[in-house]
Symmetry: C2
Subunit: 198 residues, 2 copies
C-alpha cells in the first residue's frame, strides 16, 4: 500500500479492463516519473469523452456528429448493410478495405445467460432501416461464437421473413494458421464451406 493519492491512482487504473494490480502500479509510476509524458492530455480526454462522443443515430457507430462518417459518405453503397456487435468490429472490417457498404451496430449479441434478449439490441432499428430503404443484402458479421451464432440465426429468420437477402461471413481456417492447431469445429466448418478450385 502506498500513501494516499498514489494508491488511489493505482486503484483507478486497476478498474480498467485487462489491467491487474502489477500493471496498475507500473503505469502509475510511469505517470509519476516519466519526464517526457504529460498526463494532462489523458486527463482532459477522460473528462470530456462521454459528452463529446455520440452514437450515430442511423447505424449506432461512434461519432462526434449525429450521423457517422460512414453513413454520411456518398461513395458508400447504400444498399448493403453489414450487421456487427460492436463499433470496434467496424474498424476491423474497414481495415480489410473490401467492404464499401453501410453498417449496423447491434450493441452486443443475444445471450440468455447474461439476460440479453433481442429487445436489448438495436434489432427493431435494423428492421426499420431495411424496411424504409432499398437494401439488396444484409451481411451478418456477428462473432463466430455461441451468442453470435444465435443472434445470426435470429436475424436470418426475421430478415428472410420480409424477403431480404441475408449472408453470413465465412467460417474456416485462419489465413497463415496451421491446420494441425485448428479446433475441430473450425476444421469442420472449413470442410462444409470448401470451394471448388476453378
Amino acid at each position: 500500500m502506498y500513501d494516499g493519492i498514489v494508491q488511489e491512482l493505482i486503484d483507478e487504473f486497476g478498474k480498467l479492463p485487462g489491467i491487474g494490480a502489477k500493471s496498475a502500479q507500473r503505469i502509475t509510476f510511469f505517470v509519476l516519473q516519466t519526464q517526457h509524458y504529460d498526463p494532462a492530455r489523458l486527463s482532459q480526454l477522460l473528462a470530456t469523452v462521454r459528452e463529446r462522443v455520440k452514437f450515430c443515430e442511423s447505424c449506432g457507430n461512434v461519432s462526434e456528429q449525429t450521423r457517422c462518417t460512414i453513413c454520411t459518405d456518398p461513395r458508400r453503397d447504400q444498399s448493403l448493410i453489414c450487421v456487427v456487435e460492436e463499433p470496434k468490429d467496424i474498424v476491423a472490417i474497414e481495415r480489410t478495405r473490401q467492404y464499401r457498404g453501410l453498417y449496423h451496430v447491434l450493441g452486443g449479441a443475444i445471450s440468455p445467460i447474461d439476460g440479453i434478449g433481442p429487445d436489448d439490441l438495436s434489432i427493431a432499428q435494423l428492421m426499420q432501416r431495411v424496411g424504409s430503404n432499398t437494401v439488396s443484402e444484409v451481411i451478418i458479421a456477428t462473432d463466430p461464437n455461441t451468442e453470435g451464432e444465435a443472434t445470426a440465426a435470429y436475424l436470418t429468420r426475421m430478415l428472410t421473413a420480409i424477403a431480404i437477402p441475408v449472408s453470413r461471413l465465412a467460417s474456416g481456417l485462419p489465413v497463415g494458421g496451421d491446420l494441425e492447431y485448428a479446433d475441430e469445429v473450425t476444421l469442420g466448418r472449413a470442410f462444409e464451406g470448401r470451394r471448388k478450385i476453378p
Copy 2:
C-alpha cells in the same frame, strides 16, 4: 481509425507502458460504454497527481509530505538502511513484514548502455546519510540482474571504504519453485549460498 476524440483516447492509453493497440481500444470502449464506471475520478487524479506527490527528501520514497511515513515512523530502526532501485521495491519489501529499518531509493541502477552512471542516482545522498547518522548496516536490495549487481558492487566499494557494514539480499531458488526449471545462474547461486542444516 476512429473519428476524432475516440482515436485520441485510444492513442493516449496506448502511450502507457504495457498497453498495446488492442488493449487501448478495449479500455476506451469500456470508458465510453460502461454505465457504472465514472472516468471523472481517473481524470481528476491524473490532473493533480504530479503536483501532489512529492518524493521524500530523506529517502526518495513517494510521499505527500516532505518526509515519507516510513522515515517519520519512530518505531522504525533508524540504524538500518535498505537500498532499493525504485519506490515500488519498498512496497514489495514492506509486504514481507520482516524489515523494520529505513530505506534509500536510488532512482534506478548503474547502466552504461542507457547512459546511467553513479551521478545519475542518489548515491551522494546515501553517502551523506550514512556519514551523518549512526548506521549499523546497509542492506543492498537492488535487482538481481546485471545493472543491479553492478550497482551493488559499486555501493559495496564506496561503503566498505568508510567502514560501514554492507549486506546483499540472498540469491537462490524461489520458494515454491521447481528445481528443474531454475536457470543455471540461479542454481549456481543457490549452491554458493547453501546453508548447513543445524
